[in-house]
């Protein structure tokens, strides 16, 4: 009997969740926890696991969307400069506050992400509408510019604030709590539904604007809606736990290797795959060298890059047959 990939991945995710909840600086038996362990589970691990799932899912879907919109397998949620905008705004928050206003940094990150996307889309337009290459170049240019300002700000700042800003940029989920989960979940669901509703446009844009037009779509309008969806998803992820690389790049590629490139299957599976990967990365990061915690973003890059290169090699070997 053929198993549906979504059920296989959901089954694997349940397994990852159980592993993630039980492992950490202290191993917990989920079936008979003592009161202290219950406290650890509900107040520390559960929000962290939920944050990792939401962030990973958002990044996976955003990556799948942007790779199709830009017809570029190397596109990821940060290519539009969204991450740089979010990180810069977040760094201002980290350096200016003493940490008492928990909502300040994520809110600034979200505002920075949305503002940057708006500027990039405005710069990506010409007389013909929003063009993929123009948008991509605008994103890269704005990203470099904002990163340079971020470096300048950090080089002028005090040591403590810089360390917190660095952790933010490395995708550290240690500070995850429930406070931002509802807002980020709403953003994520809206972004995801927007992308799912435009799945036909996403498939067609990947074949080029002229083919998309021939199929009865308006490429410029589809691109704006899909970039908006990807920005919402990236902003939700950055607001929740900072910058995590590689998930958005790698997960859609892995999914496509198994189920083809149809957005109808790739989008939901990238959400499940991304959530699972980040959850696993965070578990490894907090369990492998206790009491030191390695940020999840560092782990995804460390395990993601070799996996990605292996996949690349395997797929190029396959295409040469």
């Amino acid at each position: 009997m053929k198993r549906h990939p979504l059920f296989v991945m959901l089954g694997s995710m349940v397994l990852v969740l159980l592993i993630s909840l039980s492992l950490g600086q202290q191993a917990i038996n989920l079936f008979s926890p003592d009161p202290l362990q219950m406290k650890i589970l509900f107040e520390l691990r559960m929000p962290r696991v939920v944050v990792a799932l939401l962030m990973g899912a958002s990044l996976g879907v955003a990556g799948a969307v942007l790779q199709g919109v830009f017809r570029n397998p190397l596109a990821d949620p940060y290519i539009l400069g969204t991450s740089s905008g979010a990180a810069l705004a977040a760094a201002f928050g980290l350096l200016a506050s003493d940490g008492s206003a928990f909502w300040l940094v994520p809110s600034l990150a979200f505002a920075g992400a949305v503002l940057t996307s708006g500027v990039v889309v405005a710069l990506g337009r010409d007389a013909w509408g929003v063009r993929a290459e123009r948008l991509l170049l605008a994103g890269v240019g704005i990203g470099f510019f904002l990163s340079a300002i971020l470096m300048l700000v950090m080089s002028l700042a005090q040591a403590d604030g810089v360390k917190r800003a660095l952790l933010w940029m490395a995708g550290d989920l240690a500070g995850a709590d429930w406070s931002l989960v509802p807002l980020a979940a709403i953003l994520m669901v809206v972004g995801f539904l927007l992308a799912i509703c435009r799945r036909r446009g996403l498939n067609a844009l990947a074949l080029g604007d002229e083919v998309a037009f021939g199929l009865g779509l308006e490429p410029g309008r589809e691109r704006i809606i899909l970039v908006l969806a990807a920005s919402l998803l990236t902003a939700a992820s950055v607001a929740l736990g900072g910058i995590v690389g590689f998930v958005g790049l790698m997960v859609p590629h892995g999914v496509r290797a198994f189920v083809g490139a149809d957005a109808r299957r790739v989008l939901p599976l990238s959400a499940v795959g991304g959530g699972m990967l980040l959850c696993l990365a965070d578990t490894v990061g907090r369990s492998i060298l206790p009491p030191i915690e390695i940020p999840a973003g560092v782990v995804t890059a460390l395990i993601g890059a070799p996996c990605f290169l292996f996949m690349l090699r395997r797929s190029s070997a396959g295409s040469m047959k």
Binding site: A206, F213, G214, G216, D262, S319
Partner: protein, 242 residues
């Protein structure tokens, strides 16, 4: 008559005129070729035909209505368009491509994926990634996609480009069969004068203007070919073309 009609169409890129006063209509089931030098306006004319570009003078009509006035879905269900460049950066499968065409079709014109693949000679390729098939087969897969849209008019921009002689011949034979079996009207641009002889009708454009229109026997003359491509008088045109 087929549904597509150009009426005194003019178009400029900025201030540079590209198409000037172009008029023509097509018979149902006709396979017409568009020939002309590089930059003569062939692709622009096909883009005007599909509604991608808006004429500055005149009008392009599809089933009696200006093509630009049709809603995207209505237009896609009447007319299939294949541009010159069809590179696919993501690993789509042949069946997924055909499915994209099917979603643009009217319910009453819906054909199954198997039927469509069979009509372009790609039986059993549904799950095959596009990256694993030859250039000729990929072109066929895209033709199955626009065929799936269910329209009676196909506009193809240099569908033979980049294929070897065998694949070119096979693709033309396939298009001829589709014209016959599905009652399609096909308007395609091409540079392959050797194969242009197999079409029902040829239209020649030079600097955006219709230079000649008629059967291949009338069009493929040494004088007209020299004029169309501005050939050097010393250049010998092979006998098999003229």
């Amino acid at each position: 008559m087929s549904g597509l009609k150009f009426e005194d169409v003019g178009f400029s890129y900025g201030i540079i005129p590209c198409i000037k006063g172009f008029s023509c209509s097509f018979a149902a089931g006709e396979m017409a070729g568009l020939i002309g030098a590089n930059g003569s306006g062939k692709s622009t004319l096909l883009r005007l035909g599909t509604g991608l570009l808006s004429p500055q003078t005149g009008v392009v009509k599809l089933e009696g209505q200006p093509v630009r006035a049709l809603r995207g879905k209505e237009r896609a269900a009447l007319l299939g368009y294949l541009p010159q460049s069809i590179d696919v950066p993501l690993p789509f499968r042949v069946g997924e491509l055909v499915e994209m065409g099917r979603t643009a079709a009217r319910r009453e014109h819906l054909l199954s994926c198997q039927e469509l693949l069979s009509s372009v000679g790609l039986d059993g390729y549904e799950q095959t990634p596009l990256s694993n098939i030859s250039g000729g087969e990929r072109r066929r897969a895209f033709i199955a996609m626009i065929l799936a849209q269910g329209g009676k008019t196909l506009l193809l921009d240099e569908p033979l480009a980049g294929l070897d002689l065998r694949y070119q011949y096979e693709l033309l034979a396939l298009l001829r069969e589709l014209c016959r079996n599905h009652g399609l009207t096909i308007f395609l641009s091409l540079h392959e004068l050797l194969l242009a002889r197999n079409l029902d009708r040829l239209l020649v454009i030079r600097e955006g203007q219709l230079l000649a229109d008629g059967s291949p026997a009338l069009i493929l003359t040494e004088k007209l070919i020299r004029q169309t491509f501005d050939l050097d008088p010393l250049f010998q045109i092979p006998n098999m073309i003229v």
